[in-house]
């Protein structure tokens, strides 16, 4: 079922990572469950990103070795898909929906205002590492447009000023997310 590069059968490599980092065990557990099938690369990257928060070069190499895939392919796949990130996320995450319904209700202004307030571009983390600003395409709550998700909590019907106030309360006022 898999398209193997050199047609060598997939086989389980040695468990664990030389650093002894326990988190790799969680990736191993997933790899075992999917029997090291190469077509499970995207799923494996999802698991790795869940575990580590982002995909470091080290993690990508680890996945490549485990699935017997060339690192270039793993890197190529990881960079193709927008949900994979290669930098550690900030302490707080603000996701602004930029789906059509939210766009019509002014989501653009929210992205700009929050971005300006924290000197951060959409998709990036502020220099002080406190805020990651993201955009999403339709969060499926169009009735509440425009929608902002702050540290996992959905807020609807916001204008730009309210959105900034909300972010300020979390980032400057509160503790860690």
């Amino acid at each position: 079922m898999t398209s193997t590069v050199d047609d060598a059968p997939s086989q389980a490599p040695e468990d664990g990572h030389p650093s002894g980092d326990e988190r790799f065990a969680l990736v191993d557990k997933h790899l075992k469950r999917v029997r090291y099938e190469q077509d499970q690369l995207i799923e494996t990257l999802h698991v790795a990103q869940d575990v580590f928060g982002y995909l470091s070069e080290d993690v990508l190499m680890y996945v490549a070795r485990a699935l017997l895939l060339p690192p270039s392919m793993v890197y190529g796949v990881a960079t193709f898909y927008q949900l994979f990130t290669f930098e550690a996320p900030g302490d707080h995450a603000c996701t602004v929906c930029t789906g059509t319904a939210c766009f019509v209700k002014g989501a653009d202004g929210i992205v700009r205002t929050v971005g300006d307030a924290y000197a951060v571009a959409a998709g990036a983390t502020s220099d002080d590492g406190r805020l990651t600003l993201k955009t999403a395409r339709c969060l499926g709550s169009c009735g509440l447009a425009p929608v902002v998700v702050l540290d996992g909590t959905v807020h609807g019907h916001l204008d730009a000023a309210e959105a900034v106030a909300l972010v300020r309360a979390a980032v400057d006022g509160g503790g860690e997310s």
């Binding site: 079922m1 898999t2 398209s3 190469q38 077509d39 499970q40 690369l41 995207i42 799923e43 990257l45 999802h46 392919m73 190529g76 796949v77 193709f80 898909y81 927008q82 949900l83 994979f84 930029t98 789906g99 059509t100 319904a101 939210c102 766009f103 019509v104 209700k105 999403a136 395409r137 339709c138 969060l139 499926g140 709550s141 169009c142 009735g143 509440l144 447009a145 929608v147 959905v154 609807g156």
Partner: protein, 543 residues
């Protein structure tokens, strides 16, 4: 091997259990209502039930989407014997009131009542969403009690595969993923394809940014999709199937995974389904944020664990698909229609809608309307009916300017065409498309070149980069739109833009590039004056 589920016994048991409660309270726990606070409302109601010792009087049931998302959280209270009351904007306080006042003291909470006969509900016709907001999506018993899996049983035990394909052909069902290809013909192609291994894929990528029809099916009625897929696999000879779900829908993934496990345990999937010779395994695969992966050839690359870039067709997936084997890709909503078609027959389905666009269509109705949410309407209904009656018109004293369908691949329809019937062909004639079901209404404050730029930014970001017209063309078109919308565009820019639209449409590799110019073309067509008013050299030329 355990015995398969006895559908009739399970249904009977479920109906029996239900009749023990004088009241049953269904609370929408779909994403939109949860965002509006349905979770805390549910907790408050549970506590009220406990505090007032009403656990034997009222059963609380979490359900899927009830449709009127802009008035959520929504609650439906049913009294034994049939009386039904609906409540909107149910805050925790109102929820407690419903329990104390309506359930305990038989006094409805007048201030929060929602008229179930209002046009929003009365104008709809439900085939795909019959169960959404009615059943508890996490309980297979709830689905079975509403007739679930009886269509699969009927197909497996009383119909030959060809007969199933024939009924789908008679139904006139066309693919709901956007292109509108006749589903029966596609099934016949896979059924006729040679090969021991054939694959079926449910396309749940739902990339249109402003639409959540397929998510609602997957989250709120997962067994319906599974049943539709099982029937499709039986009819076409596929023994393995995938559901490709976008990663932004974790709840859908969770629900589907669970539903698949439960279906297997009940011998509705796996080996010897319902004790027949039919086997089927279904696996969920998750995307990772790439719009182009909704395109069928890119989707297959993604399932194989590769970069999701499309390839030229032919060969079509039914000839060469996943791992080179014949593969059929059907949209989630398309498949969700199947159980009803098998149960009621193809001609019943064909009697809904118009001759060339049969059945119903689910739309995510959003934008500048009084009522927004998820609706299902018969094909052929006029846009005006949707906007004015179902949507309740435009709020804040403003007026209708345009409706956008088909998302980044579609176009805008202006007010003069409000009486157009919503079907595949009429929308195409107007320069838009049916699309997957995003329907966004814009009032007279919206600036059309901005809308075009918004969609072009989307297409530019999402272009996979494989072919040059789309990769470079979307950047160029976006650049020109940027100049025009910021007041520095020239007449020549507008001419170049129109020319580029033609080139990109005619020469791109896949549907993404081919349809990316649509939002520009349709807004220039209907709102050219808005573009011209923004050009810098307009006076010089006009003079």
């Amino acid at each position: 091997m355990a015995a398969p589920i006895d559908l009739h016994e399970v249904a009977e048991r479920e109906l029996e259990a239900r009749s023990r409660y004088p009241w049953r309270l269904k609370a929408c726990n779909s994403t939109a209502c949860l965002s509006a606070g349905a979770g805390t409302t549910m907790q408050a109601m549970e506590q009220a039930v406990e505090a007032d010792d009403l656990a034997l009087d009222v059963q609380l049931i979490p359900t899927g989407c009830m449709g009127l998302c802009s008035r959520g959280p929504l609650v439906r209270l049913l009294r034994r014997g049939g009386e039904e009351t609906m409540y909107a904007d149910v805050t925790p306080e109102v929820g407690i009131d419903i329990i104390r006042s309506h359930v305990r003291d038989h006094r409805p909470v007048e201030a929060s009542l929602l008229d179930q006969h209002m046009p929003f509900f009365a104008s709809q016709e439900r085939v795909v969403l019959t169960h959404a907001g009615i059943i508890n999506p996490d309980r297979i018993e709830s689905y079975v009690a509403h007739g679930g899996y009886q269509a699969l049983e009927k197909a497996l035990t009383t119909m030959a595969p060809e007969e199933v394909v024939e009924q789908v052909r008679i139904s006139g069902l066309r693919g709901r993923g956007g292109a509108g290809y006749p589903t029966g013909s596609k099934w016949a192609l896979l059924a006729a394809a040679a090969g021991d291994t054939k694959y079926l894929v449910a396309n749940g990528d739902e990339g249109d940014p402003g639409a959540y029809m397929d998510r609602t099916v997957m989250e709120d009625d997962p067994h319906r999709l599974i049943e539709g897929m099982a029937i499709a696999a039986y009819a076409t000879g596929a023994a393995r199937a995938y559901i490709y779900v976008r990663a932004e829908y974790p709840r859908a993934v969770e629900r589907l995974d669970r539903a698949i496990r439960v279906a297997r345990r009940n011998r509705l999937l796996g080996r010897r389904i319902l004790d027949t010779d039919f086997d089927l395994e279904i696996e969920v695969r998750i995307g990772a944020g790439a719009f182009v992966c909704g395109e069928e050839t890119a989707l297959m690359a993604s399932i194989e664990g590769r970069r999701g870039t499309p390839r030229l067709r032919p060969p079509y997936p039914t000839e060469r698909g996943l791992w080179g084997a014949p593969t059929m890709i059907n949209n989630v909503e398309t498949l969700a229609n199947i159980p009803a078609i098998v149960t009621n027959g193809g001609s019943w389905f064909a009697s809904i809608g118009t001759p060339s666009s049969t059945g119903t269509k689910v739309f995510a109705l959003a934008g500048d309307l009084v009522n927004t949410g998820l609706i299902e309407v018969p094909m052929g209904i006029t846009l005006r009916h949707i906007v004015e009656d179902i949507g309740g018109g435009i709020p804040n004293g403003r007026s209708f300017k345009a409706a956008q369908t088909g998302g980044p691949s579609g176009g805008c329809i202006p007010a003069e065409f409000l009486d157009t019937p919503v079907d595949y062909d009429s929308l195409r004639e107007l320069g838009s498309i049916m699309g997957s079901g995003g329907l966004i209404v814009m009032d007279d404050e919206v600036v059309m070149p901005d809308v075009a730029k918004y969609f072009m930014e989307f297409s530019m970001d999402e272009s996979c980069g494989k072919c040059t017209p789309c990769r470079a063309g979307t950047v160029q078109m976006h650049g020109i739109l940027d100049r025009i919308t910021t007041g520095t565009g020239t007449r020549r820019d507008l001419r170049d833009l129109e020319h580029l639209c033609q080139v990109v449409r005619d020469t791109s590799l896949c549907g993404l590039g081919q349809s990316a110019p649509n939002p520009i073309l349709s807004t220039i067509h209907y709102f050219r004056d808005e573009y011209e008013a923004l050009l810098v050299d307009r006076e010089a030329v006009d003079a």
